[in-house]
């Protein structure tokens, strides 16, 4: 089961890669980048999972030793938080670029854009 989980994650990554390489539409390419981000974030979260583990947050009245024995790995979560932020920043930038390109060429199609550019 564990292998299936990892392989499915890589499959999601490949779908994103496919969209970026094979698609010509700007929106589809943006979608591809988003999917790539999801896939790699998911890989990181899954790496930190400990079977039966809870969130690495000490709740009131919980023994700290108990938490240290059972909690999932907090470090990948911190990494993913940063990575999500990067994804959001990239999305904002890509949307701005896409709007600007649409403004110049009136299309989202990269092929058309090349043609118009001559």
């Amino acid at each position: 089961m564990g292998i299936a989980i990892y392989l499915l994650t890589f499959a999601v990554l490949l779908v994103g890669l496919y969209a970026i390489v094979a698609k010509k539409n700007i929106v589809k390419i943006i979608v591809g980048v988003l999917i790539l981000d999801y896939a790699v974030n998911m890989l990181l979260v899954l790496i930190g999972y400990r079977r039966g583990g809870g969130a690495p947050i000490l709740s009131r009245g919980q023994a700290p030793g108990e938490l240290a024995r059972t909690a999932v790995d907090p470090l990948p979560q911190a990494m993913v938080l940063t990575s999500i932020v990067i994804g959001l920043g990239l999305t904002a930038l890509m949307v701005a670029l896409a709007l600007r390109l649409y403004d110049k060429y009136h299309t989202f199609d990269m092929k058309e854009i090349r043609k118009l550019r001559g």
Binding site: P76, M79, L97, L101
Partner: protein, 512 residues
């Protein structure tokens, strides 16, 4: 002395944040320029001051060194070399930009992004932690995506989009590699990962997981460095940017976030194994040849320079790869490896100087004549004496004409490759050097000599600040060639031994 290292990163960031606030106050409109110049000057001075000083690893937040809980900053010889290179080119570019950027709207955005990019590059170079490296790679990359599109013209937007998409694919691969390495070792600190990987290797052969991580990291970083199968974005992105940014991108960004990170990861994290070395050698050789061949046919000045960047960075990666291969053997020939690294790193420094110089002079020519096409230029020697003199120095340096620095670094690479037993690669390097010479003879013939075209007739000498930026880099080009022996002792030997020492610790216990 130790304590000032983080300032290299924080000062540009703080100034960049400050500019955004200051600009809202109307009376202070002129301040961003001055602040940016002073921040860059301060950075240059700090990085030069660090040269003679032994800096121990710094643990941010005080979470070390007993337990490496925090992020480590490594300021070893290699990092110092890169810091000097980055801040030198950045200082010259920002001086150049003070005049150049006047024709763009909202120049404060430019200065803010420029400072953020430079600060992030300094941080990349100082990083001793895999994830920290990734984060600041992203900062530098995102700033450069925006700067490529700074003119908001159609071509620039398209180039920026292409660059952004390919760049983020590269980042995703790098993050994937970091994730897999973390899952194997439980550490992010480079030294600790290195240590844990060595323990794993002593227990058994290199596992598929390490290979996948290495492949992901090398592919991602090669994308950032525009090595040949991954170079598609560079010839669009670099020429589209404003000239000071082209100089930064070609001169230092692809080296800090590509070549430097590759060398660091291969030597200090994964360990110089022959598998990785072979990959580096083939990437380097392919880039060297194909970049040069693609560059011959170009008639757009900046595009030609961009293609030749691919080729010249190929030299550097080739030399580093050969050094890694030499080290990975059972009885490493340290002298040959050291010479390879010296050649590679010297060429890295030189390429930063002359390619930035050429890009800046192309920007100066473009601003005065309004064209980038070689055929429309000509006869600039009389019209723009300073610019064309600097341009000539840059062209002769990159072509490898004897008294200039490019000649020495190429010569050392060729000799070192032969010494390490790679005669064919050495011959290839000579052949590419000849092609490069031809390319830049063509550049000089069309840009500087001949009859002035109709567009160039009105051209005058560039403003003083732009000339200052050009002259600084031209002086560096000439001086680093002449002072090679001195620089080798001060700058390059510490850098190459920093790489070799970390590589040595891992190859000692390695099983083939």
């Amino acid at each position: 002395m130790q304590g000032i290292v983080p300032l290299l990163v924080v000062l540009p960031l703080v100034v960049a944040f400050g500019i955004v606030i200051l600009v809202q106050v109307r009376v202070l409109r002129g301040l961003p320029v001055i602040l940016a110049c002073f921040a860059m000057l301060a950075n240059l001075i700090v990085s030069l001051c660090l040269l003679g000083v032994q800096v121990d690893p710094i643990f941010v937040g005080g979470w070390g060194p007993a337990k490496t809980l925090g992020i480590q900053l490594t300021c070893d010889g290699m990092a110092k070399l890169m810091l000097v290179t980055i801040n030198l080119v950045a200082f010259a570019s920002v001086l150049f930009a003070t005049s150049y950027i006047r024709r763009f709207t909202k120049p404060w955005l430019f200065y803010s992004l420029f400072l953020l990019m430079t600060g992030a590059m300094n941080a990349v170079v100082l990083a001793g932690d895999l994830f920290n490296l990734f984060v600041f790679l992203e900062v530098a990359a995102i700033a450069s995506y925006a700067l490529v599109a700074f003119g908001c013209e159609s071509e620039e937007l398209e180039a920026s989009f292409k660059y952004l998409v390919l760049g983020s694919v590269g980042s995703v691969f790098i993050l994937m590699g970091v994730a897999i390495l973390y899952s194997l070792t439980g550490h992010l600190n480079m030294a600790m990962v290195h240590e844990a990987l060595r323990a794993l290797r002593e227990a058994g052969p290199v596992g598929p997981a390490v290979l996948l991580a290495a492949a992901a990291l090398i592919a991602g970083l090669a994308l950032k460095a525009a090595m040949v199968p991954f170079h598609a974005w560079l010839p669009d992105a670099h020429p589209s940017a404003p000239a000071p940014i082209s100089a930064m991108l070609s001169g230092v960004l692809i080296k800090a976030s590509g070549v430097y990170a590759l060398a660091r990861i291969v030597f200090s994290v994964l360990g110089a194994q022959s598998e990785y070395a072979v990959i580096l050698i083939s990437l380097g050789a392919a880039s060297m040849v194909i970049g040069a061949l693609l560059s011959i046919g170009q008639w757009d000045f900046k595009r030609l320079l961009a293609y030749s960047s691919i080729s010249q960075v190929g030299y550097v990666v080739l030399a580093i790869g050969v050094a890694a291969h030499v080290v990975s053997g059972p009885e490493p020939n340290r002298a040959a490896a050291g010479l390879c690294l010296f050649g590679g790193l010297f060429h890295l420094f030189n390429h930063a100087a002359f390619k930035s110089l050429l890009f800046l002079s192309s920007g100066s020519i473009e601003q005065q004549s309004g064209t980038r096409m070689l055929k429309e230029m000509g006869g600039l020697t009389r019209r723009m004496p300073v610019t064309s003199f600097c341009c000539r120095i840059g062209a002769m340096s990159i072509a490898g004409v004897p008294p200039f620095n490019g000649f020495f670094s190429k010569l050392i690479i060729v000799v070192a490759l032969a010494m390490a037993g790679y005669v064919w690669l050495s011959a290839l390097a000579v052949a590419v050097a000849v092609v490069t010479l031809l390319i830049f003879v063509k550049v000089q013939r069309y840009v500087l000599e001949g009859e002035p075209g109709p567009k160039v007739a009105a051209a005058r000498e560039a403003p003083a600040m732009m000339c200052v930026g050009l002259v600084i880099l031209a002086v560096v080009c000439v001086a680093s060639g002449l002072a090679m022996v001195f620089l080798r002792e001060q700058l390059f030997d510490p850098a190459s031994s920093a790489l070799l020492d970390t590589a040595k610790t891992i190859t000692m216990g390695a099983t083939p």
